[in-house]
């Protein structure tokens, strides 16, 4: 089989870059909407902040898995 293209070097960092796209968009939406919600209803700040951080934590997990996997399966 002939190779058309090949990636060499630190492939793990490319993997992390790819893994960060989705969570990046997700976290942007979460905080954007969260700030908008706080601006519309400042008295609900506590509840909004809590749910914002919860959503942030869930979205961020994907990027962090992408960060850890090269260390685990690297070399």
């Amino acid at each position: 089989m002939s190779l058309l293209a090949e990636v060499t070097g630190s492939i793990g960092s490319i993997g992390y870059g790819l893994a960060a796209i989705g969570p990046g968009i997700g976290i942007g939406i979460i905080f954007g909407q969260g700030v908008q919600a706080i601006a519309r209803q400042p008295e609900a700040y506590g509840v909004i902040r809590q749910n914002m951080l919860l959503g942030f934590a869930l979205a961020e997990a994907l990027a962090l898995i992408g960060f850890v996997v090269p260390f685990v399966f690297g070399k």
Binding site: G46, V47, Q50, L53, L54, F56, A57, L58, E60, A61, L64, I65, F67, V68, F71
Partner: protein, 281 residues
């Protein structure tokens, strides 16, 4: 951190290896996962299990002593009108009780305040060890420790759900979320089962671990860069000062992340307990 980073600097061309140094051409000694591995201070065996006492063990012990010691001190003679350390302790307690337990779990939440409270403060102090001079390793950046924490939470909410909802009801609620057209269950049931029972504890541990690991690595990278770039060239001086500035700024950022990750871990533990206590409708 310090000794290991210096070791990695030394390995790549001697301690005098700087950017464009006259000594020898040498590359940037980027710190990797090896800065989280420490030499054993003490090795012993109980049964067939090897025990390696390293710096991380001492950091964990120190964190436990700090947390237990502070709260024993704060509540040694509780008074109706708190003052001094008791004030601080009560603020921490109220933060967990009102902000996490009652907010997320509801009125049954008071039973779980000691559980969540211990988690929050222990994890926070363990994270804080990352920037405490001489400790300088967040204990939670060693994967075994977040795994142990996540396992304790997992082994709490699963039996709790079976106990308070009944075994079948608990797993039915997990596998067949209500309000979904029935053909969707072919797709949804395996996904829900895997995500709740396997992915959930895994991400719970990885979230804490990877944040502390990445933060510590980032500070180490810029600290090593500041040392490496230090040379009598214009680029060297500018780069070194800039790297040092970034390292200091990142340390400030880490203080925020450490508290946030301890909070998120506790928040998620409360969410899982709440899901186990009350069935979704």
């Amino acid at each position: 951190m310090a000794t290991n980073v210096l070791a990695s600097v030394a390995a790549s061309g001697g301690p005098n290896c700087h950017f464009e140094s006259a000594d020898s051409p040498c590359g940037f000694p980027a710190p990797g996962a090896e800065i989280f591995q420490f030499d054993s201070v003490l090795t012993f065996q109980i049964g067939s299990i090897d025990f390696n006492i390293t710096k991380v063990t001492f950091v964990v012990i120190l964190s436990v002593i700090l947390v237990v010691g502070f709260f024993l001190y704060a509540f040694r003679r509780p008074r109706m009108v708190p003052k001094g350390a008791q004030n601080v302790g009560e603020v921490g307690y109220l933060f967990i009780r009102d902000g996490v337990a009652r907010e997320i779990i509801g009125k049954d939440g008071d039973k779980f305040v000691p559980f969540l409270f211990s988690f929050f403060f222990l994890i926070w102090i363990m994270n804080f060890m990352g920037i405490l001079p001489f400790a300088q390793i967040p204990a939670t950046s060693v994967f075994a420790i977040p795994v142990a924490f996540a396992l304790i939470v997992y082994l709490t909410w699963v039996p709790l759900g079976i106990y308070s909802q009944g075994g079948w009801q608990f797993f039915k609620g997990m596998m067949f979320p209500p309000g979904v057209p029935w053909p969707m269950y072919f797709l949804l049931t395996p996904i829900e089962l895997i995500s709740n029972l396997i992915v959930r504890p895994f991400t719970h541990a990885v979230r804490l671990f990877a944040n502390m690991f990445a933060g510590h690595l980032l500070i180490a990278t810029f600290s090593v860069a500041a040392y490496y770039l230090l040379s009598a060239t214009v680029i060297g001086i500018i780069g070194s000062v800039a790297s040092l500035g970034v390292a200091i700024a990142l340390t400030g950022f880490e203080i925020l992340i450490q508290a946030l990750q301890a909070y998120i871990f506790t928040l998620l533990a409360a969410v899982y307990i709440s899901g186990a206590l009350h069935a979704e409708h």
